[in-house]
Symmetry: C2
Subunit: 228 residues, 2 copies
DNA sequence: ATAACTTCCTGTCACTGTGACAGTAAGCCT
DNA sequence: AGGCTTACTGTCACAGTGACAGGAAGTTAT
């Protein structure tokens, strides 16, 4: 079982990778994962267990969904290993990795992990790519973006999520209009305010609606955020 | 491994089901499937093999994609069985099931299979429901609908696909405008014509474009086709 | 042949939602 | 008080859709 754990750090999309301590691919970076422990363990429960062990993440305030299964006969030199991949979205975390048992766990920018120069073990580059694609698509027509944020957030923070995952800049004014027009996407969280430099921003919570209608539109063929 | 094989028959969406000959769930309807035969067989190859055995469908002119894995500990009374589910879309077929080795294979309307009165084996009702949902979503932003048709088709036939899968009626004039405006979705297939009652219709082939921009819009909260 | 009928295809108009802008409001700092 | 930063509100043109009517091209009936 492999896990694609995504989060946001300083306006960039990061993935949790682990340096392998054993062969094959010793020393290379790989997605966290493992095998099923008990005979009667649920797959989702196993994913949550791995998530707690490797990243110290509890099952609350965390999005977890099936990504796919990867079963090419030659993906593992030891023989046929069919792996179930899960996609997890974690909110912003204060510290990279807290007390875990994994040796070399670290957050790596997705752009860097997929650049090609960082060789990932097995077919993990493909799995990571599929996971990021899934996240990009789900931002369009679901409220998944709120999973990247804490319990409350500002609209600017939410926009930051979209820009980091999609890798492009968005117009703040149109973004405000859009997220406010979709009823039930985000709801005001009291008159509370948080500040950081300029005028205080209103806080919001995730709303009851899970699907966005009409969907968020991802501009096509636009310049990458990195080049801006 | 389980297969959700969908097709269109007389403007309705059908799924291929098989009456189980052995316990557990003997006599109940189930999705076709099987276990991996050779140690080094690819998963997709295994799906194609099952597809040929159970439904007589070759790998050409057939859409096949991963659907998900189902691993609840109690899904099979014999113990933990993790199953990989595939979604297959087959074009209109002249006869239900040709010379296959499966005993009681038959096409069943999806509405009937999901009605609840037809108890499916294991968690196959859930898998089928997920497969139909996947197909519904992919019709919105991909050219998957052409997989339900033969090598050439009319626009009315394509609309039939959308109406059957979505379970709702669409306006033919707006549908014409929409599919023609998306460049590369469908391309004219010669000046050929086919007829059936009224004015002959132009024939089209699937175009090079796999994704639809802007996407096909599924009307929300509309009356079901069956009630019209 | 002509009319009726079927199905295929083309237009038109109002409205929703977006892209692309400028401008105001509300806090901090000097 | 002025300047700076960030948060928020409006306005206009345009693309795309929903909801209609009407013409085009065949078959069948009279």
């Amino acid at each position: 079982m492999d896990l694609v754990i995504l989060t946001l750090r300083s306006s960039r999309l990061y993935v949790l990778l682990i340096e392998r301590g054993i062969e094959p691919f010793q020393g290379a970076l790989a997605l966290p994962g493992g095998f099923l422990s008990h005979e009667k363990e649920d797959l989702v429960a196993a994913a949550h267990r791995e998530l707690a062990e490797e990243a110290g993440l509890g099952p609350d305030q965390l999005h977890l969904e099936q990504l796919g299964f990867y079963g090419a006969p030659d993906r593992d030199p030891r023989g046929r290993v069919v792996s179930a991949a899960y996609l997890a979205i974690a909110p912003r975390l204060p510290e990279p990795v807290a007390g875990t048992d994994a040796s070399g766990a670290c957050w790596i920018p997705v752009t860097q992990a997929l650049a090609g120069d960082a060789q990932l073990a097995f077919d993990h580059e493909q799995i990571l790519s599929d996971g990021v694609d899934r996240a990009r698509e789900k931002l369009e027509r679901s409220a998944l973006a709120t999973a990247f944020c804490g319990p409350t957030f500002t609209i600017a923070e939410l926009q930051d999520v979209y820009e980091a995952v999609w890798g492009m800049r968005l117009d703040p004014r149109n973004f405000y209009r859009k997220v406010q027009s979709v009823e039930g996407f985000i709801v005001p969280a009291g008159p509370t305010r948080k500040t950081e430099g300029g005028r205080p921003a209103r806080l919001f919570r995730p709303g009851p609606r899970a699907t966005l209608h009409p969907p968020m539109i991802r501009p096509r063929g636009q310049a990458d955020k990195e080049t801006a």
